[in-house]
């Protein structure tokens, strides 16, 4: 009996050290880990995840010619050749001086190579193409480019992230760094890692971009949301992707 107790005691010591070892490791959590089991299953099942409808749509659009050049995405990039691409955006294109996000990259390709009108931000077409590209990076670690030109934008993004805004006088950091894991109106505050974008949010009943999600938060703190094409969003994205570096992408994510 006594020896059994000693063994039990030892086991709990091991358990404690194991917990400590885990504690010192990565504490970052994707929003996926904080949502209910039913929603996790919905995201994991490719025939139940509504985001996959848009991936399917994006795949169809990929081979549809557009613009004056009458070229389809697939004419330059074979279907399924976009692996890991979404994991490294936003990035600064070769001859540019500002970072663009994945949607910006798709529109740049449209205007420069397809010679077509850029797709409207948050339109079904653009979201579907982004979802199709992002889906191909599923499971890949987020890997922001080492481009030194991104530095100032990352700092700007971090500055916005920590800046108090709006009538509630809150910054992103107050909720998502200082109080992440606690409850806000019965909902667990996530750490705000952009792991699943574009996401299918049940509240939206539609697919939406990270920009749309950021706007939601800005409206929530009663701040004036930036215009959809504002550079502030891209700077925030640059910062958030660096913050989530190494975390696996899970696009298209499902969120409540």
């Amino acid at each position: 009996m006594k020896s059994a107790r000693v063994v039990l005691g030892l086991a709990s010591v091991f358990a404690a050290t194991f917990a400590l070892a885990q504690g010192s490791a990565d504490k970052r959590r994707s929003g996926y880990q904080d949502m209910g089991e039913a929603l996790q299953k919905m995201q994991d099942d490719d025939t139940a995840n509504p985001g996959m409808l848009f991936v399917q749509l994006g795949e169809q659009l990929w081979s549809k010619p557009a613009g004056a050049a009458n070229k389809a995405c697939a004419d330059c990039h074979a279907s399924g050749s976009m692996k890991s691409v979404a994991a490294r955006y936003p990035a600064i294109p070769k001859d540019a001086d500002k970072p663009i996000d994945l949607e910006g990259r798709i529109n740049l390709c449209r205007t420069a190579n397809q010679r077509a009108e850029p797709l409207v931000l948050e339109s079904r077409e653009l979201l579907s193409l982004a979802a199709y590209v992002a889906f191909q990076s599923r499971g890949q670690p987020i890997a922001p480019p080492s481009d030194p030109r991104l530095g100032p934008f990352r700092e700007q993004g971090g500055e916005i992230y920590r800046r108090r805004q709006g009538q509630l006088n809150l910054s992103c950091a107050i909720c998502h760094d200082d109080n992440a894991g606690k409850k806000l109106a019965g909902v667990t505050i996530p750490q705000a890692h952009p792991t699943g974008y574009p996401i299918y949010r049940l509240e939206w009943q539609s697919l939406g971009s990270l920009k749309r999600r950021l706007r939601n938060c800005l409206v929530g703190i009663r701040a004036e949301a930036y215009a959809y094409d504002a550079p502030e969003y891209v700077a925030l994205e640059v910062y958030l992707m660096e913050r989530a570096k190494g975390m696996p992408l899970e696009a298209p994510g499902v969120r409540p």
Partner: protein, 106 residues
Amino acid sequence: MTNVLVNAPKTAKPGEIVEIKALILHPMETGFRPGTNGRIIPRNIIEHFVATWNGTEIFRMEMSPAIAANPFVSFFAVATESGTIGLRWTGDEGFLVEEQVAIAVG
């Protein structure tokens, strides 16, 4: 461009209960919401969903404006014979989508 995702087993034993899951892209506009111009956006929903097994109806569902966009339907059927499961969605504005999946029973 039809946009449907169907999840049904490809094979089943005779008498086995199989689950059939279907997801479809549709806005399910309720007809109660005002648009940005203040006018009511006309109702645009899927009204009926019907499933058949080799032509025989096995499941029918009537949908209402309270159902969310991109409706997901899951139902069960007893596998009796090999053949085709047909799924058919009909609704406002002449909406009609048909999808078929094959199933081998034996």
